[in-house]
Symmetry: C2
Subunit: 150 residues, 2 copies
DNA sequence: AACTTTTTGTTGTATTTGCAACAATTCTGT
DNA sequence: ACAGAATTGTTGCAAATACAACAAAAAGTT
């Protein structure tokens, strides 16, 4: 059987490692760029949803976001109709570094895809979306304590 | 531009998360399964190479492997011709749980690929290998302190 | 309306992760 | 043969990560 998991794991760890090293320039700690980008792109999103998007533990997201707040890159806002949630927004400072994060991401993307034809890029993208959708079903189940059978 | 990085990141974190939860059954801590599998499959491999295969920091690999040794799942062996290196081998105990790790991996693989045709599976596999090869070049450069320009 | 379950957020604690810095070999170029 | 570079391994430290357990609000059920 074709082992695609390992390839994906290697790619993900390598890219994450590169990003973390490069973003220290902006005083972003390991992983923080992930959260900041999502909040910039989804103003008003809540913590729980950010964790789901990134596929990371809720408490990890909570702490990463708390740190972004301390650093003045995002802020939390209470909701009038729902006392439980806190909506997240990037501050001016947060938006100020966002373009740099984008640029790095695009560069990594281009680098990763070099040598692939435009058709191949479309193909891998579409297939990855399918795989991601498959995987997120199981992730949410297992995270909620369900056991997979095999 | 097609954002394949994010898809890959999501997939990788979700799968890793699932594996870590499931492998607690075997008293394997976060990430340990990665190292054990590689050592089982490559008897005599050295630490440095394991880190490169997995795309993880050398010191992280060092500690994960040290822990596997403490747990009696692998052992280190000195080399006669090279005093610097230590060759790694799985113990009987290590090999004993290897099949379970394989089974889990295969199940995750099948789950992730469900809904894809055999041709699509071949395609995504080949494309991922290309991407991984692109990425590992930059990873090794950045890890050695080189700056990427963009 | 009362009860149960789900959602959302937090904190305590243990562990992994990785950068910096070091040491000891081995390899390379002259 | 030797000096400098690269490889391999280790430890100190700071930080991210995530499981457990809790609390409070909201949504769903009878």
């Amino acid at each position: 059987m074709k082992e695609i998991l390992r390839e994906i794991g290697m790619i993900a760890r390598a890219l994450d490692s590169i990003s973390n090293i490069e973003f220290k320039e902006f005083d972003l700690a390991k992983g923080q760029y992930l959260y900041l980008v999502r909040i910039c792109e989804n103003p008003g999103i809540i913590q729980e949803k950010v964790a789901e998007m990134i596929k990371v533990d809720r408490t990890t997201a909570a702490r990463a976001i708390a740190k972004l707040e301390e650093q003045g890159l995002i802020y939390k806002e209470k909701d009038d109709h729902n006392k439980k949630i806190k909506k997240l927004f990037a501050t001016e400072q947060g938006y100020a570094i966002y373009p740099s994060l984008q640029r790095e991401g695009e560069h990594s993307n281009r680098m990763a895809l070099s040598g692939l034809s435009p058709e191949e890029i479309d193909t891998i993208h579409d297939l990855l979306v399918k795989v991601r959708k498959n995987v997120e079903v199981d992730w949410e189940l297992v995270k909620k304590g369900h056991k997979r059978k095999y």
